[in-house]
């Protein structure tokens, strides 16, 4: 018992800090979401019951953005995990110049998002960007990568994958390097093919790292803001607007802090549910097994 008190005491400073930067804002959002606080009220919070939440339920733009955010997050995380795994497997093999190659791979990730988003904006530019120039030189015509509402979201996903795939690859590469070489050799001696080794040995042992990558990336992607703000500003026709962007607009453009808080809290809940879901999914597929300690 005494030990327990001591450990609680030792954790207190960290807990206090967490509370200050995380719990307090959250509670403050909760409080604000139950108030009208906008230019109309002179920025003075006036209790309005659940009016903000009622408005949220009827807000088509919120639900469209929620759908778009989920689509963006799941597509980019899925592509990053697949591509990252492929890249990690490639970089794990003994190659000539593997060291510089690994460093090179990390470059996109090291680039600030705004810089990289500006770069992609130019690449996608219609009609002057290099991508359209290439299309035309191949005999095609220019395409409005960032101005076609039906497809622009996909090019935003591509830009995001380009930037964060290296991070996932690096994480998975670290995981691959924890797998002793003789395990694979033992399975090779049994006559296993590359694919069998990957399926039966590498992937199960990589599950903890895949989970980590998934949770990290999902959390980031569901809160995506800077990439979209710079690349498309949420357009065309709101087709790439994310929840974080919508919350930002509510607060900073419409100066409606009560409703902005409501959107933020709702986004946070969505994040929690998605992360929990992702975690449970992978747990069922062996995370619990491979991290299990000796009884």
């Amino acid at each position: 018992m005494k030990n327990r008190t001591l450990s609680l005491l030792l954790m207190l400073p960290a807990l206090l800090l967490l509370a200050a930067v995380f719990l307090y804002p959250l509670l403050r959002y909760g409080w604000l979401s139950l108030h009208a606080s906008s230019v109309l009220t002179g920025l003075v919070p006036i209790p309005n019951g659940g009016a903000n939440w009622g408005r949220l339920l009827d807000d088509a733009r919120f639900w469209t953005d929620a759908g778009q955010t989920l689509r963006f997050a799941f597509c980019s995380v899925a592509l990053e995990l697949l591509g990252g795994l492929g890249l990690a497997l490639l970089l794990h093999r003994p190659l000539r110049g593997r060291g510089p190659l690994r460093a090179l791979t990390l470059l996109p990730w090291a680039l600030p998002t705004t810089v990289m988003a500006l770069g992609w904006r130019w690449i996608f530019n219609d009609p002057h960007g290099p991508l359209n120039a290439a299309l035309r030189s191949l005999g095609g015509s220019s395409y409005g990568f960032l101005s076609t509402p039906a497809t622009t979201w996909f090019f935003v996903v591509l830009a995001d994958v380009w930037k964060t795939l290296p991070f996932v690859a690096l994480l998975l590469l670290a995981g691959l390097q924890t797998i002793p070489a003789d395990l694979e050799e033992a399975l090779r001696l049994e006559g296993a093919t590359r694919l069998q080794i990957l399926r039966r040995l590498t992937l199960p042992l990589l599950v903890p790292y895949l989970t980590l990558a998934l949770l990290f990336r999902l959390a980031q992607a569901l809160g995506v803001f800077d990439l979209i703000q710079v690349l498309t500003g949420g357009g065309p026709a709101g087709s790439t607007e994310s929840l974080a962007l919508y919350a930002y607009l509510n607060a900073m453009r419409f100066l409606d802090f009560g409703y902005a808080s409501t959107v933020m809290l709702a986004t946070f809940l969505l994040l929690l549910v998605s992360l929990g879901g992702g975690w449970l999914l992978l747990r069922r597929h062996g995370l619990a097994r491979s991290t299990e300690r000796a009884a």
Partner: protein, 331 residues
Amino acid sequence: MSPGFGNGLELRQLGREVGGRCLLDRLDLQVAPGECVALLGPSGCGKSTTLRLVAGLDPASGGQVLLDGVDLTGRSPGERQVAMVFQSYALYPHLSVEGNLELGLKVRGMAPRERQRRIDATLELLQLGELRQRRPAQLSGGQRQRVALARALLRQPRIVLLDEPMSNLDAQLREDLRPELRRLLCGREQPVIYVTHDQQEAVGMADRIALLEAGRLQQVGSPRELYTNPANRFVASFLGRPAINLLAIEPGRQLGLRPEHLRLGDDGAVAARLLRREWWGHQQLLWVDSPWGTLRVLTAPEAPMPPEPRLGWQRRHELWFDPDSGARLAA
């Protein structure tokens, strides 16, 4: 002792070179069916390299691996029907004992019923039945080793390779397991290669010992041959503990004398002075100062010590070496 042509495992001029560094230099070795040959030597001598070449895990830069006269050199590890017990045991950490045994059979596409039958039989043979649901992390070192052994024996391999299978076990367990390992592995139809750096283990396990150093085979033969008739100074000093005494008794020749062949008495060749004794229970080791430096002498535990001891030995125990090359010279 040596197998007939084309029967058993034969390594012919087998070599491996990486980046200009020679890890194994044209090794010739034959292992008869059912015979256990220990590859012995200090670390980095090429014994594990040899094992990996036989398994096909590394490509050979020269030479051949033949099994019953058939060349395996170009074949993949999976096609060689080789079983290997790794130093780390290489158990799959995410699978139970049973899963560890099953995976290899599954990969080969064996029918589930046949798989189960074989697994049950092997688990029984190694008395692992009660542990079948455990994961490697939940097993002791000895148990892990048995699982690794079970996995190797399970698929009725044509060659059995063991890479320091005992080096992760404590000394007592090692000694206890030796007879069992021999019972399970040797005397069947497969040739067995056993890699170790421990001469006791090599002597205890193997029919013949191949002693390697710096990628070169130094000598191959029964433990007795290697001990009594070493091909060179390295063999003489690697085998036998306490180590052989090397005396610069005359120019151009070096004399090797085993500690148990030296005698302290009233009538030896030279005067000696006792420095220290180590009492080992069944024997005692004496450290003796002589005109040729400090020597090791092994005697019975209660051997009387003369007041003015003199050091002597018999001519037939003398081993002569070239002081520069270490080659054995005729007596």
